[in-house]
Amino acid sequence: MSKPSFVYVTYIVTTPNKLFNALIDPEMTRRYWANHRNLSDWHVGSAWRHEDYDDANEVDIEGTVLETDPPRRLVVSWASPGEAGDPAKCSRVSFDLEPLDKSVRLTVTHDDLEPDSERLRSITFGWPAVLSSLKTFLETGDVVPNIWAADPAANA
């Protein structure tokens, strides 16, 4: 087992079912993930993709559903468009949901990243912003207008 590259944890006042649904429902992801949607039938072995909600030609991430155990665990492979078939170019993202008293502990683990890659840079910036936005959305219903506004590369 290789050492995970990143481990992100957030505590969200919600239920595991609502949180799991927020990860896979296109109408939900749109609200907190910079107007993007995650699309798949979410069966193990099926393809999934992360694309612009308003323009399906703008696919950012592609991969395969590797494991699913709703509402506890979801594991997907993660690659640039067109590279999902090449294992060397795929990283792996696991979402683990653990119910607590009134909240859910969500752990996002990103493994198998190439060191010094562009993907590594965007993830370092990306996950904390996405997870904060997800927490705000589920706890308050508020939408964070543009979570990438603080990303230097996105505004270059």
Partner: protein
């Protein structure tokens, strides 16, 4: 959020976060090797950081690996930094780093 601010208020704990920023996923032993702190102090500070959710840990076999978890810091930023302010704040931050790198007087 109180816990995050309290945890960040200590320079040794910020140094520990710096060490994890440089290399994520370190064991207690690896962290001690590079820092001028006793093992006991590092262990105590890590516990405070974990309690504040600024450090997330993962067991790999018998090794406990520590990861920098900046999500609470992103929560702080999201609460007080509006979307229109971000551009200007970045411009100021860039100006600060350029000026601080340049030690000449011209």
């Amino acid at each position: 959020m109180d816990r995050a601010f309290k945890a960040l208020a200590d320079p040794s704990r910020r140094e520990l976060l710096d060490a994890l920023y440089r290399e994520n996923g370190q064991t207690l032993g690896a962290l001690c090797a590079h820092l001028d702190m006793t093992r006991q102090a590092v262990s105590k500070h890590l516990a405070v950081l974990e309690e504040a959710n600024l450090v997330a840990s993962v067991w790999r076999g018998r090794e406990k690996l520590h990861y920098l978890n900046p999500v609470p810091i992103a929560d702080i930023a999201e609460r007080w930094i509006g979307k229109f302010e971000r551009q200007r704040l970045r411009a100021l931050r860039d100006l600060k780093s350029v000026l601080e790198e340049d030690t000449s007087d011209e």
